[in-house]
Amino acid sequence: MAEMDTSSGGGHKKGPGVKKAKKLSTRVDLTPMVDLGFLLITFFIFTTTMSQPTAMKLFLPKDVENPDDQNKIKQSNALTLLLGKEDNVFYYEGELAPDASNFKSSNFKDIRDVIIRKKQAVDSNLVVVIKPTDECEYKNVIDILDEMTISVVKKYAMVDISDVEKQLVTITEGAAGSK
């Protein structure tokens, strides 16, 4: 191991009875330094997050004034998702029944199964209509758009919510909250 030579320097000759100082090696044991080096490397590697942000593309439709010019979709192929507050998702297939019997509530975990089931049922003609309410968060919108990518739904649209649907969402959320 490395040791400092503390014996007096200077080349003066020592007396006859004095032993000659042993010449010590100048080599230093570098093992601890290597340990330290690799420790730092591992530390830096683990604390560095590979945070290259990604970007999701979104294509907006042109606003069409004339309702006749709008794309018509077959009701049976449609799935409407409504985004409520606190990560609630509601959905109905086809047209909303007057008594709201096909209005179901769900959440972000189960909605994927709903989409996949519908997709299998209509054989890739699926059109998903996304209607976010004013209470829902930006994250919810991104999440639901992401679900479209995950389940490879090619046709989807973000549409403003109607008053009837808004009321239904509020009522259902209120009922769930009182439980």
Partner: protein, 223 residues
Amino acid sequence: MSRPKIARKSTSIDMTAMCDVAFLLLSFFILTTKFKPSEAVTVATPNSVAAKVAPEKDFIMISLTSDGKAFISVGDSQGDKEKKKVMIEEINTRETLGLTDAEIAALVRAPFVGAPIAQLKQVAAIPTEKMTGASMPGIPIADTSNNQMVDWIRAAVVAYQGEKLNVVLKGDNVAKYPAFKNIIAALKKNEQFKFQMVTNPEAVPQGTYLWNANMAGKSQEQL
């Protein structure tokens, strides 16, 4: 007959070479790591499975904070700064704000624009380092009749005339939907139908359609 004696070798190895390697790697990692640029506006972006990397230059970024404020900024490159100058000059002439050249330069230097157009003159006097997302009022977007994001996007369209305008939206997790909707409305008004949303990467859940497609070697764009 005596066997030749095998010299007993020391078991200690010279560590110098290994030490060199360790520190070489260490310095390499430290020097190549790019620090996250300190952001004047803090935005926690949501996760998505999108695989495309967000652009690093030639874009205009709309930031939407958790408290619903909107800010507009451009990339860091010199070209982007020039575009920002054109944008501010455009706003200046359109709204007859009477900004001086020095004020325009100050606004261009600022990391973002986050105030109503009428207040730009006062904002130009605020030093850059004191400008934070929390202290600025944000661009008014809540009111559909006075959605100033429309003016900013229009100015951006003018600045990027003849070039591709990349609009990047960076929204916070908990930003409310109406703010997002108003930004979309502002983009639509200026006929900007394509935009990108900044997200953090996330793994594709197993067993889904996309996952199966990825396993089959198809990218998201091919689907």
